[in-house]
């Protein structure tokens, strides 16, 4: 298997009039990678996708695919194929005609096209459905036809613009696995756009998190989750308890933050090591699953007193929603190991978390819900 063709964004800006849709984007996507752009709607991720596919020219900077500068090259000349958010299947063509459209426009004969379409239908497990019209297919089937149509063009890079957003939850989860499998099978670069962190984290080799046209962090899923680079990433990806205060001490990349709940210790995020100094205002992020009830007699560590507000049982987990002494919400998720579920509303608890599993970051914007 070849290494595939990489995509590089070098200092890309996209402006629409006075509005800056993408600001100084620098991304290096390796060949054969499954790469996701994750961010809330309107963050500029679709704009980046359109710049890569050639539907718009960046106002500044360059897009290169396989090392070749793509400036001035139209979408029909780029080695990319795009799967649209609404799929954009041609309603007046049959399934197989849709799939083999890219061959039709290159003048391939009908037999050849039909043959290739049948191969791809096999791949997407829709053999014998080639003669149907698009509207006769179910949502998931259409999805797969769109993928087959894009693959038929033999692109070096497949671009996917939230293609799963129209599907229901179950199908969506199924398609995630399927997409990942297809990607590994064909071995080309996938660039995936989504606002759904679950999709991004499960499928991708690497994820770029975007906010307001700015790429905040590029890393693999685990790093994004465990070691966020900005408060936005920390609050957008997964759930996080936020506590803010002032850095009073730093030692070996562990910061002591003076919050209104007392002094708490947390690891300084990798991205800001050296950038966070004593005296700075900081935010401290703790995942609910990193929070635990203090065992009687344990010493030291971060300790917070809180009152239970309500409890939610989810099967494998249960979530305890609490209020700290300062009146801030605090969530704790406990794995269901058959332990007695503790806490009625009003119960006072003392909870704790490891400094290692909390992250300290300079103060910044959070993701709005």
């Amino acid at each position: 298997m070849s290494a595939g063709v990489g995509v590089e964004l070098d200092d890309v800006w996209v402006r629409f009039g006075d509005f800056v849709a993408v600001r100084e984007a620098n991304v290096n996507i390796k060949g054969g990678e499954f790469f996701s752009f994750l961010g809330p709607s309107g963050c500029g991720k679709t704009t980046i996708l359109r710049a890569i596919s050639g539907f718009l020219e960046p106002s500044e900077g360059t897009v290169s695919i396989g090392g070749a500068n793509m400036a001035g090259i139209g979408p029909n000349k780029r080695p990319t194929a795009l799967i649209f958010q609404n799929l954009a299947l041609f309603p007046l063509m049959t399934v197989w005609e849709n799939i083999s459209f890219s061959m039709e426009v290159k003048g391939a004969g009908k037999k050849e096209r039909r043959h290739r379409a049948d191969e791809l239908l096999e791949l997407i497990a829709l053999a014998d459905q080639g003669e149907k019209m698009v509207h006769e297919l179910s949502g998931g089937q259409r999805q797969r036809v769109a993928i087959a149509r894009a693959l038929c063009a033999q692109p070096d890079v497949l671009l996917l613009d939230e293609p799963l957003s129209a599907l229901d939850l179950k199908l969506r989860q199924h398609m995630r696995t399927e997409l990942r499998a297809i990607q590994q099978q064909v071995g080309i670069t996938f660039i995936y756009i989504t606002h759904d962190q679950g999709e991004a984290l499960t499928m991708s080799d690497n994820v770029a998190v975007m906010r307001d046209g700015v790429i905040e962090q590029v890393a693999d899923g685990q790093a994004i989750y465990d070691d966020p680079a900005t408060p936005f990433v920390a609050s957008f990806v997964g759930e996080n308890n936020v506590l803010s205060g002032k850095v009073t001490a730093l030692s070996k990349n562990v910061a002591t933050v003076d919050t209104n709940l007392g002094k708490l210790r947390a690891r300084v995020a990798t991205a800001v090591q050296g950038g966070l100094n004593t005296g700075d205002r900081a935010m401290l992020f703790v995942r609910p699953e990193a929070v635990g009830i203090v065992e009687t007699g344990s010493r030291g560590g971060n300790k917070i007193s809180a009152t239970v507000v309500t409890e939610e049982f989810e099967g494998s987990n249960y979530h305890v929603f609490m209020e700290t002494a300062a009146g801030e919400p605090l969530k704790m998720s406990l794995v269901n190991k058959g332990q007695s579920r503790a806490s009625a509303t009003g119960t006072k608890l003392t909870v704790t978390f490891d400094a290692d599993r909390a992250v300290a970051l300079p103060v910044g914007a959070l993701a709005s819900e």
């Binding site: 649209f84 954009a88 299947l89 007046l92 426009v105």
Partner: protein
């Protein structure tokens, strides 16, 4: 509830009056096409006849006009659909600040009176012709070309509106998808956008054809020395009337009805197709098809009835010969006339298979043709032989062998022509025609 019954009676009554107004004139006109009376009228009813259709078919001026109208309509369809499509496609791409201006300009021909469009086209191309020193038989002075241009000016705007409304439902992502899959712009246009627009192209073409075919206001200026169906009709209706025009109306009404039926059937089928698409069990839908086609669709049923009635009329007409009836009526009229003398309601004549003579302009405009009872009633009776002949006979007097053959146009217009047959004198014809036009 009392008030609601009153209301529905009122609504029913109103609808009846309204549709009476809408259809009454057309029905009456259609009926006159089947009355053997020389002048288009329903009462008194003389004899059922289809002869006016023959007269119509042999009317050369009308046929020439019809041919020209069809040529023009063809040209207008091509030009207007092309321009309207381009106009609609460009609309979304005009600089937003200029868009209202663009829209105002291209939509204005719809609001500008047709005569103004005709005049401006005529003058503009005349000026262009002068500029290029073109000869008078060149395209700048060609009635058919100018009419195509003049009509297309506003018909293109109609077409554009049709396309705009269709394009509003087009997903631009389809175009992008095609480009993305390697299609060129032209291929995208041809393979994606154009097929999507086919239904709109169809309706725009039909609209353009109809609008062109029935246009008069613009055409009358741009057609110069040529003629179209409408200009021929106009001069016929204004100057000399006979029921062959009604028979043309019958044909047009029939075509319109058939078109309406076809359209409705098509629409119905489309709808069924959609329904079938939703209900995956297609076999049961197919079983219901015929039933569904008619049920709950009074429009269809009514149109079918009208259609069947029309076919019946044609069949009846082809089996039936009105000659005996005509002779009866003529005799009756003679008797009546001998007793009462001329009467303004007396029918104007009895000769039947006679072609319509060229119309003679009469200055009086209004009712000249209805107020002259002195039609050469006896002429035909005295010389039945001329029933067959005299296509080319004009009121010049050349067709004097049978006075009746030439008298149609002339005598109808001239009350001065004697009831007692001075039309036999060829010289009289010119004279009477003269009198007629001086009125």
């Amino acid at each position: 509830m009392k008030s609601s019954t009153f209301l529905s009676i009122f609504i029913g009554l109103y609808l009846i009056i309204f549709f009476g107004y809408l259809f009454g004139p057309l029905i009456l006109m259609s009926m006159t096409a089947f009355n053997s009376s020389e002048f288009p009228r329903v009462s008194p009813w003389e004899c059922f006849t289809l002869e006016w259709f023959d007269v119509l078919a042999r009317d050369d001026a009308l046929i020439t006009g019809l041919t020209n109208s069809l040529i023009i309509a063809g040209g207008v369809v091509v030009l207007s659909v092309l321009i309207g499509l381009a106009g609609a496609l460009i609309l979304t791409q005009v600089w937003p600040r200029l868009r209202p201006w663009y829209y105002t300009i291209v939509i204005s021909p719809i609001l500008v009176p047709g005569v103004v469009l005709g005049i401006s086209t005529l003058i503009f191309w005349d000026r262009l012709g002068t500029m290029f020193d073109a000869r008078y038989d060149s395209v700048f002075y060609d009635g058919i070309f100018l009419t195509i241009i003049g009509q297309s000016t506003f018909i293109s705007a109609y077409c554009m509106l049709v396309f705009i409304s269709r394009l509003q439902r087009f997903d631009p992502a389809l175009e992008e998808a095609a480009l993305d899959l390697g299609a060129t712009h032209t291929q995208t246009f041809r393979k994606i956008l154009l097929p999507f627009l086919y239904p709109a192209i169809g309706s725009a073409a039909v609209l353009a054809f109809l609008a062109s075919f029935e246009n008069y206001n613009t055409t009358v200026f741009t057609v110069i020395d040529q003629s179209t169906l409408t200009t021929v009709l106009a001069s016929k209706v204004r100057y000399g009337i006979n029921p062959s025009i009604s028979s043309l109306a019958v044909i047009i009404v029939a075509i319109t009805l058939v078109g309406a039926i076809a359209h409705e059937a098509l629409r119905r089928r489309e709808q069924l197709k959609i329904e079938r698409g939703e209900i995956t069990d297609s076999s049961s839908a197919a079983a219901n098809k015929m039933q569904g086609w008619l049920s709950g669709n009074p429009a269809m049923i009514l149109l079918m009835l009208v259609f069947v009635a029309g076919l019946g009329t044609v069949w009846f007409g082809s089996q039936y010969s009105p000659n005996q009836c005509k002779v009866d009526v003529r005799l009756q009229k003679e008797l009546l006339q001998q007793r009462q003398g001329p009467d303004i309601f007396s029918p104007q004549g009895g000769e039947q298979t006679q072609p319509q003579a060229p119309a003679i302009p009469d200055g009086s405009g209004s009712g000249a043709s209805d107020t002259n009872p002195g039609r050469g009633t006896f002429g035909d009776v005295f010389d039945p032989g001329n029933l067959e002949e005299g296509e080319g006979a004009a009121p010049s007097g050349e067709g004097s062998s049978g006075g009746g053959s030439g008298d149609d146009g002339a005598a109808v217009q001239s009350p001065g022509a004697s009831t007692f047959g001075d039309v036999f004198n060829p010289g009289n014809l010119e004279e009477s025609a003269g009198t007629g036009s001086q009125e």
